[in-house]
Symmetry: C2
Subunit: 347 residues, 2 copies
């Protein structure tokens, strides 16, 4: 028997509602495979912060490092000042666990409604850098609250950080049928960071002659996502551009209720973390109507990362089957969707 | 006779093709109004840079300052290293002429094809800050070309700069039927700049009790643009987020071939500059197939800014009429579209 020692962080809002469904499906997918899941829940999020004044203690961080992987729902609540939980918990984990690859697949499945009139084939994956850029928390405020206030945010990009994620993206592209990589940046304005990204892609591409490479400015990329998403295969981009593009990508492939995300440390030096792209959605929390599909797909990404590819494929197939059945447009509860996908696993 | 002393910068690629059409329409719209246009062409862009090694001389900048307004096509060419013309010419003008309001209306006209299946009513305007943020050119590279390279980009936001554009946006919202303002930022990650933007919107909103205010993270805003664009009336946002959102907004309202933009100094301390949102499009340049509509609409924005609202409205109506006739999907040349809109002015 192999045991996956899983840290579970349901978090806030709908995070708490979708995570149990993913665990349900995981359990079902692994039954009879010789792999089992042992879960440790970490009750982090808004309530914990209200109670303790901290978003993540050093002790919890150390304990989390000991797990094989992390499944996270979503964090953030209106009762907590903006940024505290996002930066203190979610981003702290991504940075402390060196999740330099933020992997976000986008695929439009048959039967799934999309806002696009003629979506065509949509099947790409965004490789978003996860430990640098504008997310590093570098910046500050002087003369706050005065007419002379200045607030800065610094995007930090290193050859070390850019190269490793670009390498990952090329390897990913080489493994896919289309073997195509698009760098998204804004190098005509952000010339310093843009130069580093460009030169890095150029250098690494020499080692992947089979991968075709192109480039799009981030503003143009938002157009392509609605006008010609089929052009994309693998997108590699920085932390902020990746954040923006993957939400738009989620929207065109059925909504971020379906979009899954892996925060990956490819070398396994630290546990990787899997989560839906959506947030805690306070507006619909507590009603049992959140779609758990993204979190269930995140669980499949996790199994993949841990090398359990067969049950990962089975979850994906079950999700796909469930999606195909959605054409009737009937609205289902969170648990009903979880049950349906678990059921589909038996087929 | 009033004369508009207009600086014309066709620029590169399709910029050179669309600007003459806008001048044609302007001439027609003003005939018989007692207003005439005197144009001075500035041959700036890739060729000028190749010839002189500079993107914009101090002399030309001084001369341009003397005009009433500027009409710009587009700049950028593959033969020029990325950033040189964008930063040396376009952004230099925006910054030197203190174009702190970058005004970008988005409206879906009847008959215009959109990639969205159910677009609903789309009619909003983005007020993009134009002189700060990540566009200020602050940043640098150390140890370039080595494994220890670090490249930074600094977003600079000042109370002075944020407040004046937020005030403009509130005034704009107050003048529109829906009276609704959305701040777009990413204040859960970019807490320093985000805090300044939030506090400023809150403070100014006290003076506009009739304007309802909400907030969207930039990633969520890219979703709303495809899933629920009708929720937007006036969006106020920073330079980079505005760049990204207005391209996506252009895409959902018929493509950036239609999207116009004003780089405005509201106080008139310097001439304002009007341009299409699209770039120089080297891929289709020289074929006479670029759509001049965005530049023609930019000319209408210019007339508006200069107080010639009647001919501005007439151009808008002619553009709208031309769009309504597009349902047949017949492709027309740049000049044919310009002619058709000029013709529609006579009706
Ligand atoms: C919650 C927020 C900090 C986060 C991000 O910006 O990365 C989210 O939007 C995401 O994409 O995972
Ligand atoms: C050409 C480029 C510098 C410019 C920008 O980023 O502002 C363009 O994309 C725009 O939106 O006007």
């Amino acid at each position: 028997m192999t045991t996956i020692d899983l840290a579970v962080i349901p978090g806030d809002g709908i995070g708490k509602e979708v995570v149990p469904e993913a665990l349900k499906v995981l359990g079902k997918a692994l039954s009879g495979t010789g792999v089992e899941i042992a879960t440790t829940h970490y009750d982090l999020g808004a309530e914990y912060w209200q109670r303790t004044g901290q978003a993540l203690s050093d002790e919890d961080l150390e304990a989390i490092k000991g797990h094989d992987a992390i499944l996270l729902g979503a964090v953030g609540d209106p009762s907590v000042p903006s940024g505290i939980l996002e930066r203190g918990l979610l981003l702290r984990l991504r940075f402390a666990l060196d999740h330099y690859v933020n992997l976000r697949p986008s695929k439009l499945y048959p039967g799934v409604p999309t806002p696009l009139a003629e979506p065509g084939q949509i099947d790409f994956v965004v490789v978003r850098e996860g430990t640098e850029g504008l997310y590093c928390g570098n910046g500050g405020v002087v003369r706050q609250g005065t007419p002379q206030e200045i607030a800065t945010e610094v995007s930090v990009n290193t050859a070390f950080g850019v190269e490793r994620v670009v390498r990952y993206a090329f390897a990913k592209a080489a493994s896919r049928p289309a073997k195509h990589l698009t760098l998204v940046h804004k190098h005509n304005v952000l010339v310093h960071a843009g130069g580093l990204w460009r030169r890095t892609v150029e250098a690494v591409s020499a080692q992947y002659p089979e991968v075709t490479v192109d480039y799009a400015h981030v503003d143009a990329a938002t157009i392509y996502l609605v006008a010609d998403p089929g052009r994309f295969d693998v997108i590699v981009t920085d932390n902020l551009f990746g954040d923006i593009l993957t939400d738009e990508a989620g929207a065109i492939t059925g909504g971020i209720g379906l979009a899954a995300s892996g925060n990956i440390n490819p070398e396994g030096a630290f546990p990787s973390m899997f989560e839906p792209v959506h947030g805690s959605a306070p507006d619909i929390a507590g009603q049992g109507i959140a779609d758990p599909t993204a979190t269930i797909s995140a669980a499949a990404l996790m199994l993949d990362h841990l090398g359990h590819t067969r049950p990962a494929r089975r979850i994906e197939a079950a999700v796909e089957a469930d999606m195909a059945g959605r054409a009737d447009g009937r609205s289902r509860s969170t648990a009903e969707i979880g049950d349906a996908i678990a059921q589909a696993l038996e087929a």
